[in-house]
Each structure stands twice: as C-alpha cells, then as structure tokens.
C-alpha cells in the first residue's frame, strides 16, 4: 500500500471581486500501489479507428485515478478521451491544447484517445491497485 497525494490549487485575483484561492490535498483512496508510469505518447488517430490505448479495462481494481495532459500548444488541437467499453464510444473528456484533467475511474472501462491533429502529444498516468 503506497501513499500518493493529489493537490489542487485554483487561484485568481480578478475572477471575482475578492481573490479566489481554493486549495485541497487528498491521499488517494485505499493506497493504490501500481502505476502505468508517466507516459508520453503521440496520438496519431483522428477518429476512434486506430486510436491510442490509454488504459485496458480491469488492469487495476477500482478505484483508479487518471491524469492526462494534452501538451499541444495550439488550443484548438483537441484530444478526445473515450470509453471504448461502452456502446457508442462516448467521449468523456475533451482536452484543448495545454489542458489537463485528474479524475477517478472505476477502472472497468477501456479508455482510448484520438485527436484533431496528427500527431498530438499527450502525457498520462494511471494509478491503481493491481487486480
């Protein structure tokens, strides 16, 4: 059982008339002790055909966490992360260039990615507990 912490800080001095400073830190639930490592990949597919595999369903037990960043510097170069297990391949994340997300996943869905531009480089990491 490992201890991994995730912290987020949201700040703004002019979004509201008073300064915004939201900060929270949490220890990932149940001490997940496996990770894919922080990977850097080129997403070459521009549709679900030949898309990039991010995570295979049930590689980890629930609950797992995913961090993903679209490293592209052009904001309109999007990366789409979709649920390849569910019918219709629903998109669950749309990341503009420079965007990132950190979220839990129940770990039983295969996640894949495609982009608007070939290639678009992403960085991602999944942290979870081995099955």
């Amino acid at each position: 059982m490992a201890t991994t912490t995730a912290a987020i800080t949201l700040t703004s001095t002019d979004l509201l008339t008073d300064s915004l400073a939201l900060s929270t830190t949490s220890t990932l639930y149940n001490g997940p002790d496996f990770t894919t490592g922080l990977q850097r990949l080129k997403v070459t597919a521009t549709s679900t055909s030949s898309s990039t595999l991010l995570y295979t369903a049930d590689d980890f037990a629930a609950i797992a966490y995913i961090y993903i960043k679209n490293t592209d510097t052009t904001s309109t170069d999007y990366v789409y992360v979709y649920d390849d297990t569910t019918s219709g391949d629903p998109v669950i994340l749309k990341l503009a260039g420079g965007d990132w997300a950190f979220m839990p996943t129940i770990a039983d869905k295969t996640l894949k990615a495609y982009a608007t531009t070939n290639p678009t480089t992403i960085e991602f990491m999944v942290i979870g507990t081995d099955q």
């Binding site: 912490t5 700040t11 979004l15 949490s26 002790d33 503009a96 997300a101 950190f102 839990p104």
Partner: protein
Amino acid sequence: MATTTATLTLSSADLTGDSIAVSVTSPLHKAGVNVGLDQTSGLAKKVYAATQSNTTLISAADYDDNTANWVYIKNPMPPVTSAETDDYITLTLGASNITLGRLYGGQWCFLPYEGEQDIDITTSATNMEVEFMVVYQTA
C-alpha cells in the same frame, strides 16, 4: 478578462522505487483563444439527506455548448480507513449516465467540461455532501 490558474501536484515517496512528483499549472482559457474564463458558479456545497440516484449536479442547460469550462467536484466527507465500506459519490455523464468514477471521502476531481451533457451524482448513503465549482464562459 480574468486570470484563473489551476495547479495539480501528484506526489508519492513509495508508489515507485524513486519518489515521484508531478506538477502542472495552467491558466483557464476560453475555447480556442488566449483569453481567460470570466464567470463562475462559485464554490457551492450541497447536502443530500436522502440517497441520490443520477441526480443532476451540473446542468448542461446552464452552459453554452462547445465552450471551454472547468469543473471541480469534491466529496468533503472525512476519509474513512475501512476500505470497501466507505461511502462514495459516483459521477456520471449525460442522459445515458456514463460512469466517470467514484469520489470517496476527501477525494476530488478537476476536469474540462464542454457544457453539452449534465454531470450527475449518485450517493451511496444518506446525509452525504458534495462541493463543486464551475469556471465557465459564455459562447
């Protein structure tokens, strides 16, 4: 135009043989332009006395489609150490309720939101709380 910055730090001394520390900071911009988001829902908190099933937390109707918005959601309940029995909030997306994941006590997520589908929650117990904020733009 406002400037709002989000910073994520992931760190662990024992997840791998060497310590890891991942940190990323980004400004929150409107879709396709280098202009900061300028509206927010504010940091909101809801208390659900009864268990909820796919209850709308963030309504797409409140946001324009194809916009660049950001969502922060936290389960503020105190973390409990007895794994597998802890209470949690399940996040789902859209009318078909695509499951995104579970937030156990103290856990949070931060993700971009295009404003096209509702984000719903299901609670695993009574008297649960959720905190959330949307930083958004109009079309």
